[in-house]
């Protein structure tokens, strides 16, 4: 017992520690508003982190109390990232709809769940009836996934949910006045539809460690091409486009930039590009050839970045964190993580980490919020939607910690979507911006930082890449993930012998950059239903080419 007692005391102390600390600290929980009435509850499923949840939970409770005189609470449903949420909503809704359909005496055949959530109406008449009945019903008494709102993720994820019939129009009549401040599109990208509403903006940029770059003899990067430098081999952290639609969008921006450059190099100025895009059928053949060439350049750039990559990660904070540690020299990160890490430096080392949004290659996408079919608390959910687009809600994204009307516990440092938070030539908006500016965490007046300025500097030409979303994602997967070891081995051999520019490596590089599809055929191939089959073919293609490229490169003399 003499030996056991100290252990038991220690064990008790360990258990007591968090309780004691918690008791000593001032409690910063959700304020319950004064005033009576039953508490309104809204169920929100989200991939957002604890900081965003805590601020929006607190903000909504206060806003709701001021607006209605009643307390309110957000119940967050947190199950992981967007891929888990997509799976969860589909499975919960299908399961509830099944019970509802069986209750009405309908038949539930094998494959009914698939048909129910299919984008196109099924051909089978029974399934068609189910498909229509499902999409015509929006009543929690009939079926519900037990969730009111889907908050965050990318527009791709919400668009997919919309096509599955999971979303419903929150304002079939008139939209709230605040939405007038949210453009439906900008720079060719959609920011809101009838079913989903962007409420914050995201960009991807390059986060880098100045010490590591200095050790490697490299300057600070400012364009995507810099991540393809052979000296960065094994030192680049990349987010995985197969697991995040936002990163695929970011890579799409990179490809668009390469096409724009190729088209410009072929002698087509902005004006003539506009003409060609208005009427592609009558555009000259050189124009189409330049697009195809630019697309291939874009893919080659992605392949080289992939060859330099130390990893492709599904976790958005791994890249900035490891760059800050010096474990990787540079990487692709979402803006707020990058900017935060760049300023979050220990005393004495203020310039350790930097972040840059590559000029002309940064697409500005939105983080939507959408109302789910069969929402159990529709009225409260509509109020939450309204809150997020109100000035009070938008301020939470970008105000400094502790500023009046700003976040109370965590600075979120994200881009709000409303126009009045950015510089504008319109007098009313400019006045509003001047009012916000002193409180902002980041200087949105700087055109290299402000999301609207970035969006305006980037022109998204839908025809160039909009049909290539799946192709970009799957080419990266086949070449850089599935055939990744072979790609990196070939790249190592090329880099050891003078790099991709060396004449001796011309044959090896030609093999490496060869693609199984071109700009024209890529969307056709990915449009085929059997994804596994073309992925297998592409992986085999890249593996064979990379092995051959490695052999070709190794036949040459290594250079020091």
């Amino acid at each position: 017992m003499r030996r056991l007692l100290p252990l038991l005391i220690l064990l008790a102390a360990a258990v007591a520690l968090p309780f004691a600390v918690r008791a000593c600290r001032p409690q910063g929980g959700v304020e319950t508003a004064a005033g009576g009435g039953t508490e309104a509850v809204v169920l929100v499923i989200t991939p957002h982190n604890e900081a965003i949840r805590s601020e929006f939970g607190r903000g909504f409770a206060a806003w709701h109390a001021a607006r209605t005189g009643r307390p309110a609470r957000v119940e967050w449903i947190v199950i992981g990232g967007t891929s888990e949420i997509g799976r969860y909503l589909a499975s919960e809704t299908a399961s509830a709809a099944r019970a509802w359909w069986l209750r009405q005496g309908g038949a539930w055949r094998a494959g009914a769940a698939e048909a129910l959530l299919g984008r196109e109406p099924p051909e089978d008449p029974d399934l068609l009836e189910l498909w229509h009945a499902f999409r015509a019903t929006d009543d929690p008494e009939a079926f519900t996934a037990g969730v009111d709102l889907f908050f965050g993720g990318g527009d791709f994820d919400h668009q997919r949910a919309a096509e599955q019939g999971l979303l419903t129009d929150p304002w079939p009549g008139a939209e709230p006045a605040d939405l007038a401040l949210v453009p439906a599109t900008l720079g060719g990208l959609t920011w809101r539809t009838q079913l989903w509403y962007g409420n914050a903006l995201s960009t991807f940029g390059i986060v880098f460690n100045r010490d590591r770059l200095h050790d490697l003899g490299l300057p600070a990067p400012d364009a995507w091409q810099d991540l393809a430098d052979p000296r960065l081999r094994g030192q680049v952290g990349l987010a995985d486009p197969t697991k995040s639609s936002s990163i695929t969008k970011a890579f799409e921006g990179l490809v668009q930039q390469q096409i724009a450059e190729a088209v410009r190099a072929a002698g087509f100025a902005e004006e003539s590009v506009n003409d060609c895009e208005r009427d592609p059928a009558s555009a000259p053949a050189e124009y189409h050839a330049a697009i195809a060439r630019g697309w291939e350049e874009g893919m080659w750039l992605l392949l080289r970045m992939g060859a330099n990559a130390r990893y492709f990660t599904p976790s958005s904070q791994r890249v900035p964190f490891e760059v800050a540690m010096g474990e990787t020299a540079a990487g692709v990160a979402i803006d707020f993580y990058g900017r935060f890490q760049a300023q979050f430096s220990p005393a004495g080392a203020p310039q350790r980490v930097g972040f840059v949004s590559p000029a002309g290659g940064t697409s500005v996408t939105c983080d939507p919020l959408s109302l789910l079919r069969g929402a159990p608390h529709r009225a409260a959910a509509l109020l939450f939607l309204e809150f997020v687009f109100s000035e009070e809600g938008q301020r939470l994204w970008c105000y400094r910690l502790g500023e009046p009307g700003g976040p109370a516990q965590y600075a979120l440092r994200r881009y709000p979507i409303r126009r009045d938070f950015y510089p504008s030539r319109e007098p009313a908006l400019a006045v509003a911006f001047a009012r916000h500016l002193p409180h902002l965490s980041d200087d949105f007046a700087d055109p290299a930082v402000g999301a609207y300025a970035l969006a305006e500097r980037f022109t998204f030409r839908p025809r160039w890449t909009a049909r290539h979303f799946a192709a970009h994602r799957d080419l990266v997967r086949a070449a850089c993930l599935d055939a990744g070891p072979e790609l990196r081995a070939a790249w190592a051999a090329v880099c050891a012998r003078g790099g991709p520019q060396a004449p001796a490596n011309a044959a090896a590089v030609a093999r490496m950059r060869d693609l199984p599809v071109d700009w024209n055929s890529a969307p056709e191939v990915t449009g085929r239903t059997d994804r596994a089959a073309y992925l297998r073919e592409w992986t085999a293609f890249f593996r064979a080419n990379c092995r051959a490229a490695r052999a070709l490169a190794e036949a040459g003399e290594p250079t020091p």
Binding site: L7, P18, G28, S95, G111, A112, G326, L481
Partner: protein, 568 residues
């Protein structure tokens, strides 16, 4: 042998339980890999088998598993043997500490290794070099790090098996002139084989399907990473489910092969502990020599733990190109301990893990009884199925339970009753499903420990008690239970510790803050901008501390209660 009627009853009961709690939810997810347009198809399976990168992934995983199992045995068996045979100053401490490497909290191990072996980490700073340790380690790095994390499983099982040995047999061998290594090889090894098999097969299947280490070392061409990559993809690709099925079949086959090769021959001894075990008291240089291997293994295996402890008190960014942190703070501890998530998550984890342990104990012992003490035809299949949860990726199982709960939650009788809703609908309260998930996923440890214990214990002892008039239950409670207690406690420790550290089910099933277990709290803290990993490290260290103290206290209790039986 058990009466056949009783054996059949237990068999049917455990098989139904495993079917309902494991196979049904599993199939709810895996069926996605075997259907197209509502009808059964083997197309996706064919696609997986025909893809060379998956074949290569399976080969590499097999190689990793083989390497890890060998290395873990090479580390653990000599240590367990020394601890069993010798007594020396500091033995109690090192013998308990030797188990600590297995309690590394999720997400933080990578941070620990990077602080030490990163390009700007301790080792490079110490020696003034610029080596990319983690980026260049490849498959060998994976094997080494996994073996260092998993050898305690082998150690625990080996120690329990050695504790079960009848010292008289060793002495008899010695009397007949069989000494030293020869005695170990010819006498000890065959007698402790069930324990070694139990530890070995657990480590083998674990490392065959382990995800975290290869992800950290960016070694992507192995089956678990391929499954994870495909599962996490946006969209509804059937490939990962077909791939999981292949992984499961491969694991079951490897288990069966392993049992055929190593697990069959078990010598049960009747006279166990009839004489007190004789340990050799070492002093001076010989004691130091016995202590050295423990210290060496601990120094390596506890490195990431030490790094995580240091991280939890490091000013952000202050452990950078330096051997140790340049600036420390207790702010992360204050933040972690005082965070609204912390207190609730600790209480939740204790509850879920304790209940899971209870479920595991009942189910595990029941399965082991049928497997060892009956001659039923399909007992081998039951044994194999009870091992499979170890091979199923966490995310797959989590979505299986989600689908299962959702199916139940949408039935009228559940919807209308608050009690049933709280029990069966994870959206209302995930406790039941989390307990089931933890228990099922950790069941293999309990089954293997219990099987090993029963195999080493002769049924003659229980039969003798019954001959003397003890009813079967009393004979079981008073004779067999105490004899296999060492094994059950070893298994129980593994179940409890790994339940506390479980990730996938915790992340997916505990959807609301009130229900978060500690691993989800660590995950949430990890995500906070800037200080996240440091605050998460503080909570992680708390978890390590708690589990470490639990293990130490358990070994003290055991030491007192079971005397010579269990010397961990």
């Amino acid at each position: 042998m058990m009466p056949r009627g009783l054996a059949r009853c237990i068999f049917v009961g455990t098989a139904l339980t495993l079917g309902a709690l494991f196979l049904v939810p599993l199939w709810m997810v895996l069926s996605g890999g075997f259907t197209e347009g509502g009808s059964f198809t083997l197309k996706h399976l064919g696609a997986v088998l025909g893809n060379p990168i998956y074949a290569e992934g399976l080969r590499n995983s097999f190689f990793i598993a083989l390497g890890v199992t060998l290395l873990a045995n090479l580390i653990a068996v000599p240590l367990a043997w020394i601890a069993d045979r010798c007594d020396f100053a500091g033995k109690k401490t090192v013998a308990a500490l030797v188990l600590v490497p297995m309690i590394l909290p999720p997400f933080l191990g990578a941070v620990g290794w990077q602080q030490l072996f990163g390009q700007y980490g301790t080792i490079n700073a110490l020696f003034g070099i610029e080596r990319d340790w983690l980026g260049s380690s490849g498959i060998w790095g994976v094997i080494l790090l996994e073996a260092l994390a998993l050898y305690p499983i082998v150690y625990l099982n080996a120690a329990a098996a050695l504790a079960n040995l009848d010292p008289a047999l060793g002495e008899a061998a010695e009397n007949l002139g069989c000494t030293g290594l020869r005695r170990f090889r010819r006498v000890t090894l065959p007698l402790i084989a069930p324990g070694l098999f139990a530890g070995g097969i657990l480590v083998f299947i674990w490392s065959f399907t382990e995800l975290g280490t290869p992800l950290m070392l960016n070694y992507t061409r192995c089956a678990p990473v391929q499954v994870f990559d495909a599962l996490k993809e946006i969209g509804s690709d059937p490939t990962p489910y077909a791939l999981v099925a292949v992984l499961l079949i491969a694991s079951a086959a490897l288990f069966a092969a392993g049992r055929l090769l190593f697990g069959r021959k078990a010598y049960a001894t009747a006279g166990r502990a009839s004489t007190a075990a004789r340990t050799q008291r070492l002093t001076g240089a010989r004691a130091a020599l016995a202590l050295a291997p423990f210290v060496a293994v601990l120094a390596l295996a506890l490195l990431p733990h030490l790094a995580v402890i240091l991280t939890s008190v490091t000013e952000p960014g202050a452990w950078y190109r330096s051997v140790l942190p340049q600036d420390t703070t207790i702010a992360h501890w204050a933040e972690a301990m005082g965070h609204p998530l912390t207190v609730g998550s600790i209480a939740n984890s204790l509850l879920y893990s304790a209940l899971a342990l209870l479920v595991c104990l009942v189910l595990g012992v029941a399965i082991a009884l049928v497997v060892v003490r009956s001659d039923l035809k399909f007992r081998g299949a039951l044994d194999a199925v009870s091992m499979l949860p170890l091979a199923v990726p966490g995310l797959v199982m989590a979505f299986g339970y989600l689908a299962f709960s959702s199916r139940l939650g949408n039935s009228e009788w559940v919807k209308e009753s608050g009690m049933w809703r709280n029990l069966l609908d994870v959206r209302a309260n995930p406790t039941l499903f989390l307990v089931i998930a933890y228990a099922v996923r950790r069941l293999p440890y309990m089954v293997r420990s219990a099987v090993a214990g029963l195999q080493q214990t002769s049924p003659a002892l229980e039969e003798a008690a019954q001959n003397l008039g003890a009813p079967p239950w009393t004979a079981w409670r008073r004779i067999t239970m105490p004899l296999i207690a060492a094994n059950l406690i070893a298994g129980g420790l593994l179940v409890f510790a790994f339940s506390m550290l479980e990730v996938s089910d915790s992340l997916v099933l505990a959807q609301r803050q009130d229900h978060y277990p500690i691993t989800k709290a660590i995950f949430e803290l990890f995500q906070l901008l800037g200080t996240g990993p440091y605050v998460a490290a503080a909570l992680g260290v708390w978890a390590m501390l708690f589990l470490g103290l639990t293990i130490l206290a358990a070994s003290q209790v055991l030491g007192r209660k079971l005397g010579a039986l269990f010397r961990v």
